[in-house]
Symmetry: C2
Subunit: 192 residues, 2 copies
DNA sequence: ACTTTCTTGTGAATCTTTTCACAAGCGGCT
DNA sequence: AGCCGCTTGTGAAAAGATTCACAAGAAAGT
């Protein structure tokens, strides 16, 4: 949001303006920011540039994160070609698949590597994150292998709840469940 | 989860078992369910079949939801080919794109329709949901047009917060932000 | 019929998040 | 310099979510 405001030439922004854009309240914006420090100027609001930079540091975005993509299927290829990842500091350093027909295929600058190399690739390329784009049946095993090889976080597209040590953060993307959330809200509005 | 338990031949399940699988607590499971009624048997747990059916009704999954996909790009095509949507009751009744090179292309049984037909397709096919898989710059306009044509909910993949009437639920999928959530948690663990 | 073993459903207690509301501070204007 | 119009940062209050803890009910064994 702050980058969009920068593009529009905004120099300062108030908690009220951020709240309107972000679908929340001004008090919430201020309270949230106050957990990390004090970034604004009374009477003026926040400097867009400064707040952006501070948040980037807080979020850990002031470095490049090396990512390995596991599963070169439909969703994997869409993700691989998505330019925003690179632009936002996420560098896909390897793509791995278990299908012999896919191994060796060239994707841009990368060649699809066999699944057995997962551990060695994580170690050699110092990948901190993996994206799991494999069938649900393979997800738990791939997650365990990744964690054992030293990965620090997992973005999981498979519709299963994977079990990993609790110091390894996992973010789940479950698109069916997103649609179900819409169905629920629509249904509930009809039968209150 | 209940369907996985069914497949494994489970007949009853306790709140404790559900909690372990779902990464939560037994009290939470029971309290959440209690908001919708009383589905279990003391000493036994929940009937897997019955709880599944009751939840399907609560979530509004006891019908087919007609969905229109807007944007036949990388993520759009991955979604279109994802078999779980159909399997879970979400029927993609039309695909729409603004690119003349894509209009008319055949995707399985569907033909990509021009973006101008969005409103008429929503009305004629009685689509309740749209999936926005268009560039961020187009998302707000497509959302407004969809709502005006009678859509009831929106699944938005564009990395912008769209503004629609508050009785229209919107679910956002922002993959960069998911990675950023991982970066934040990893970074925070390093500097407590 | 009675005891034992489980597990639910739910008030009450606790913990967390959000909202309120206002003193304090900044910049511009006279 | 002094006043005015804004906006932050933050304690205190209110609202909301989670956890505790236990009476009550169900099955199974004796
Ligand atoms: N396609 C979508 O839009 C979509 C949406 C949401 C979630 N998902 C989920 O994402 C996952 C992948 O979906 P998809 O549609 O891309 O499926 P896909 O079948 O097109 O791709 C999966 C790929 O993973 C590879 N693979 C299988 N086991 C592997 C292993 N052990 N190691 C490495 N690679 C392995 C397969 O060879 C295949 O190339 C699934 O869990 C699916 O439920 C897909
Ligand atoms: N590719 C990914 O993995 C990915 C991941 C997350 C989010 N996204 C987001 O999803 C959206 C689509 O991404 P993509 O990678 O598929 O892009 P893309 O460019 O491959 O596809 C976008 C499609 O939308 C069409 N389009 C543009 N304006 C339109 C309009 N007004 N009406 C109908 N169709 C229109 C284009 O012709 C194109 O076919 C973007 O907002 C992107 O940020 C993509």
């Amino acid at each position: 949001m702050l980058e969009l405001i920068q593009d529009d030439g905004g120099v300062t922004v108030s908690s009220e303006q951020l709240a309107r854009r972000g679908h929340t309240t001004a008090a919430q914006v201020r309270k949230d920011l106050s957990h990390f420090g004090s970034f604004g100027k009374r009477g003026l609001g926040y400097s867009v540039d400064e707040l952006r930079d501070r948040l980037r540091i807080i979020l850990g975005l002031d470095r490049v994160w090396r990512v390995i993509l596991v599963g070169a299927g439909r969703i994997g290829s869409a993700l691989f070609e998505y330019p925003d990842f690179k632009k936002r500091g996420y560098d896909c350093v390897a793509v791995v698949d278990s299908d012999p027909a896919k191994i060796g295929e060239k994707w841009g600058e990368r060649v699809i590597r066999p699944a057995e190399e997962l551990e060695s690739l994580i170690k050699e390329l110092h990948a901190a994150l993996v994206i799991l784009a494999v069938p649900a049946s393979a997800a738990q095993l791939v997650a365990e292998r990744s964690v054992n090889a030293g990965v620090r976080g997992i973005l999981n597209f498979a519709p299963v709840q994977i079990q990993v040590p609790e110091d390894i953060p996992v973010e789940n993307v479950n698109l069916v469940m997103e649609l179900e959330a819409l169905s629920f809200q629509i249904t509930r509005a009809l039968t209150p």
